[in-house]
């Protein structure tokens, strides 16, 4: 039977209560218990070999290349925890059936509970640390759901949020720690990590790993100073407290320390940090527990104190201490779970958890009282009960360590003081609740609960007694197996006997008992002393801190994200500047070794024109028409530059685009303010000029550095294969439609998308139509100039002929689909300008959207056509033909592709300009009316 079923069955079980809750609470409770029981049996079946010291493995490959596999392992420690999780879990399922009222959605509760059970099983069984972490987070989430089960209560919501925040934050630290650990070891597999203890401990990153992992463990196990969430998690239903906050979730942190004990412990740092944290938690929890009037509050602080005790044991540098820690994990789980259950029964039957009201319950519920008293005495560490045994071992170990060097004697003294308070609060639990006079105005008259609900308590209390009296028969096997897993196989000599003779630990126990009695007897003085302190509610402090953090974040976000485009662009530009300029600082010589071209008058004239145009654009940028005219000067010079530097295709394209762009911008100006007020402050202008000049300087420098170095080009391939492979002389065009046809297909698609986006933007635009220019002159309503319209009409066929010529020759001479498309567009736009929309509209009836779609389709189908000949997408074909009059000519499939490009360019350009132009005329009025 495979290990994976042990956590998988409960995971499937989360669905069971949701399906069966409609059949009543009894059916629901029993059906829920089935799958975890099977898991329990499966776990127990592995016990014989695990107790022999074997480790059972399950491994399934998942993303092995990332170190992520589904891996489980069962060793002694896992078996111990599986027993606790499933055993106490089953008891809690039974108990919750009684505890939850009929108003509560029992199906939802059980689903959360089983989900939590799955998560805990996942943690203790995982053999991959990332997987372990995932289950770890799952416990945080499912415990959040459980604590906030009564979500109508503010306490429950706040407590749940606090628990989630603290344990979640710890979880993130743990993730960082585990990733670091996996990185150092080179594997996320737990087996590999456990065998790399020396490597990790000697690595300089060890303190970080330790700190991060311990942060995860301490937050989960409510160690000082993260203990504050646990008392507030008591807002959960009591079955949840009994399960999560005694036996399982808070033990997850302890489990983590035990799991990584072989790799992380053994250094000064570990002993100091872990033992001091544990000691502080032990004392703080024990002291605070005495003053809580709420039964569950007392138990919560007592839990904190016992978790501190276990942590302290792990932090002491003896192997026996680790054994004692494991032993106390078992004992604490049994007596604390039963105490929580008893507290829940008392709450349920009397309607209160306040120890100032609860008195003398012995008379009303003697059976429950007896059970609770036994468990409480075990908590106090009274002989013949399991708590005594592990506490005795604890005292013995405090005497046997040298963690603090010459100050090590302090630990046993402080441990005894912790023991004193532990006895005192246990006494208070017993005396205040069951004796001490009569109940004071309780909402209900207390009575014994139904018989079956005491069964889980009886089982647990029975275990306390059995372990306490016959330790060797009951626990020695599992204790040895779990301890040897913690100690990586080395097990020290120890004896589990009740009586070790009169020795120091026994004396310490006696001192604790006597001290506890005295403290409890004089408790009024202590209570008065404690009352002097301001009672601070951790909830409010926590909320305040969270609020402060949120405000800080909001401020920071407000600073970097103030929805100002100018701010964003500045940040972006400055970042670009930093990244661009950095490498330039390392470049020794700006100028490379390449032979440079001679400067001549033509270039100089062009450069002067371009510079003047650019600078004038900036100077007149608030007078928009002027700026536009200057911009067109720059564009024209750029086109000439392309022509001059051997790029005729670019020159033609740039020229055509320039015309289209300027027409577009002129149209847009009609709807935008003509002039602008001065609005930037001098400071901002100076800053922007500085940024602009710096970036310009850096870009110019890079450009110069590139141009003066010899090229390392891949273009020779294109030059050599253009004729033979693509059938064309114009290499630029062959690259566009053949070699890199896929790129071009993508680009015309983008063009089409942009045009359609613009079409949608225009369609829903509610523009106001200026009736005059900014000086108050109204628009001229004159007819269009006759000569212009006549000439442009007669030019149209000629222009279309030119564009057809440019298109056809494109494969062998400058031209092609892009350029021909732009020329056609310009010719059509000219008709719009010269004759008006109302004249053009009935004459050009084709839909530009269809043209775009058709163009992209033709280009795509041409590409797909090569599949029919078993060639890759966009493979081109060409051949030479001979016709009588025409003579020799060449046909290439690339020309079809180019036709697609042509159609898309025409469609996109016209869709943009025609629709925009239409807005300025009376033609748009009908479209506004509907």
């Amino acid at each position: 039977m495979s290990l994976i079923w042990i956590p998988l069955l409960p995971l499937l079980g989360t669905l069971v209560p949701l399906l069966t809750s409609r059949f009543g609470r009894n059916v629901c409770a029993f059906s829920v218990a089935v799958l975890p029981s099977v898991s329990m049996v499966l776990a127990l079946l592995t016990a014989p070999s695990v107790l022999q010291g074997e480790t059972i493995q399950y491994h399934a490959k998942w993303l092995s290349s990332l170190g992520l596999d589904i891996a489980f392992r069962m060793d002694g420690l896992s078996l111990l925890f599986c027993g606790l999780i499933l055993g106490i879990g089953l008891l809690v399922i039974l108990y919750a059936r009684y505890y939850l009222s009929s108003n509560d959605s029992i199906g939802r509760f059980y689903a959360y509970l089983i989900l939590f059970m799955t998560a805990m099983l996942g943690i203790v069984l995982s053999n991959n640390v990332i997987q372990l972490w995932m289950f770890w987070e799952l416990t945080s989430i499912s415990s959040f759901l459980l604590i906030s089960f009564w979500s109508h209560k503010s306490d429950a919501r706040k407590g749940a949020r606090m628990a989630l925040t603290v344990t979640g934050a710890g979880g993130l630290a743990l993730l960082a720690g585990l990733l670091l650990m996996g990185h150092l070891v080179g594997s996320y597999n737990l087996d590999d990590i456990l065998n790399s203890g020396d490597l990790l401990r000697d690595h300089q990153a060890y303190p970080f790993v330790l700190f991060l992992v311990l942060l995860g463990a301490f937050t989960k196990s409510a160690q000082f100073p993260f203990q504050f969430w646990l008392p507030h998690a008591m807002a959960a239903p009591t079955p949840v407290s009994a399960y999560l906050h005694s036996a399982t979730m808070v033990k997850a942190g302890i489990f983590l320390m035990a799991r990584f004990y072989p790799v992380l412990s053994g250094t000064e740092l570990w002993f100091i940090v872990v033992s001091m944290t544990g000691l502080a938690t032990l004392l703080f929890g024990a002291y605070m527990a005495l003053f809580k009037h709420d039964l569950k509050g007392l138990l919560a602080y007592s839990t904190i104190s016992h978790l501190g005790l276990i942590t302290l044991l792990f932090g002491m540098n003896t192997q026996l201490a680790a054994v004692a820690a494991v032993f106390h994990i078992i004992n604490h789980a049994t007596f604390k779970a039963s105490l929580f259950m008893a507290a829940g029964i008392i709450d349920h039957e009397s309607g209160s958890r306040d120890m100032r009201k609860l008195n003398g319950l012995w008379k009303y519920m003697p059976h429950t009282a007896a059970l609770a008293m036994v468990a409480a005495l075990s908590m106090a560490g009274v002989p013949l009960l399991n708590g005594f045994l592990s506490k005795e071992m604890f005292f013995a170990e405090t005497l046997d360590q040298d963690t603090l060097g010459s100050l090590s004697w302090m630990i046993p003294v402080l441990a005894t003081i912790g023991g004193v308070f532990s006895v005192a609060y246990s006494l208070r639990f017993i005396h205040d609740v069951f004796f001490n006079g009569e109940p004071i105005d309780l909402p209900k008259t207390p009575k014994e609960p139904p018989r079956y609900v005491k069964i889980p308590v009886e089982i647990l209390v029975g275990l306390c007694l059995l372990v306490g009296i016959f330790p060797t028969y009951i626990v020695s096997g599992i204790l040895a197996a779990a301890s040897s897993a913690v100690l990586n196989g080395e097990l020290p000599e120890y004896s589990l006997a009740i009586w070790h003779g009169v020795n120091l630990p026994l004396l310490m126990s006696c001192l604790a008992m006597a001290g506890g009695l005295i403290v409890y007897y004089n408790r009024r003085h202590l209570f008065q002393f404690q009352a002097q302190f301001e009672d601070q509610d951790a909830k409010f402090i926590f909320e305040r801190w969270v609020q402060r953090l949120v405000n800080r974040c909001a401020q920071f976000i407000e600073y970097i994200d103030n929805s100002s485009l100018q701010r964003y662009i500045v940040i972006m530009m400055v970042m670009a500047l930093i990244f661009m300029a950095g490498p330039l600082l390392d470049l020794k010589h700006t100028e490379g070794a390449r032979q440079l071209l001679e400067l001549n008058g033509v270039v100089l004239t062009g450069a002067v024109l371009l510079s003047m145009g650019a600078v004038a654009t900036v100077i007149w940028h608030r007078d928009r028409l002027m700026a536009l005219l200057m911009l067109s000067v720059v564009g024209l010079v750029v086109a000439i530059a392309f022509a001059y530097f051997s790029a005729p295709d670019l020159a033609l394209t740039q020229l055509a685009v320039e015309i289209v762009t300027i027409i577009l911008l002129l149209l847009a100006l009609f709807f935008l303010p003509q002039k602008l007020p001065k609005e930037s402050s001098p400071k901002r202008i100076t800053r922007d000029i500085a940024i602009a000049l710096l970036i310009g300087g850096v870009v110019g420098t890079i450009n110069f550095a590139i141009m003066t170095r010899a090229p390392d080009t891949i273009s020779n391939y294109y030059l050599e294969n253009s004729k033979t492979g693509g059938g064309g002389d114009n290499v630029v065009n062959v690259i566009l439609v053949d070699f890199r046809g896929f790129d071009t297909l993508g680009e015309i698609t983008v063009l089409g998308i942009a045009a359609l986006g613009i079409f949608k933007l225009i369609a829903a635009m509610r523009l106001y139509m200026p009736s005059s220019d900014e000086t108050g002159r109204t628009w001229s309503l004159d007819r269009r100039p006759l000569i212009l319209s006549v000439i442009s009409q007669s030019l149209l066929p000629l222009a279309l002929l030119v564009s057809a010529y440019i298109f056809l020759r494109g494969h062998n001479a400058p031209g092609g689909g892009f350029i021909a498309g732009l020329i056609t567009s310009v010719a059509i736009i000219q008709q719009y300008i010269a004759n008006g929309v109302e004249w053009v509209k009935p004459r050009i009836t084709m839909s530009y959207q269809w043209m775009i779609a058709g163009g992209i389709l033709i280009a795509g189908l041409t590409g797909g056509g090569s599949w029919m000949f078993d060639r890759p997408f966009l493979t081109s074909w060409f051949d030479h033909f001979h016709l009588p009059i025409v003579g020799d000519f060449e046909l290439a499939s690339a020309i079809l592709f180019d036709l697609g490009v042509y159609l898309t360019v025409v469609g996109a350009t016209m869709l943009i300009l025609a629709n925009l132009g239409q807005l300025t005329t009376s033609e748009r009025i009908p479209s506004e009316q509907h």
Binding site: S564, V603, R624, P648, L650, G700, L736, N812, A908
Partner: protein, 121 residues
């Protein structure tokens, strides 16, 4: 000649960056156009400058690098589409929001400036 070319690219970049940092949409559009000129020239020059050596196969055998040209050609066309998109967006923004500021509202720094100069906002 390369130095003059690089100077022009740098100048265009500087002018473009300055204008994209302005607060009104039309200036930003013009700035983007200038920047795209600069970018196209920059990309083009990565094939190095060469006179009278168009990449059209002929008997001379001396050609400039055709690859940057092919890339820049599509960049010019796409640059037009993008400019058009931004322009229309600017118009739509003004139509829907009632002003032509890039943020859709006149920020407080400027209204402070207005107050400083005695404007009433």
């Amino acid at each position: 000649m390369e130095a003059v070319y690089a100077f022009c690219v740098g100048l265009l970049t500087a002018c473009g960056v300055f204008l994209t940092l302005r607060g009104r949409t039309f200036s930003v559009v013009i700035g983007i156009t200038l920047l795209s000129y600069a970018v196209n020239l920059f990309l083009f020059s990565s094939g190095r400058l060469k006179l009278a050596a168009a990449a059209v196969l002929n008997s001379t055998g001396d050609y400039t690098d055709p690859l940057p040209q092919a890339l820049v050609l599509t960049a010019i066309v796409i640059g037009f589409a993008m400019t058009a998109f931004v322009v229309i967006l600017a118009m739509r923004g003004r139509a829907d929001l009632g002003n032509d500021h890039v943020d859709g509202r006149i920020p407080s720094e400027e209204s402070a400036l207005h107050r400083h100069r005695g404007y009433k906002s």
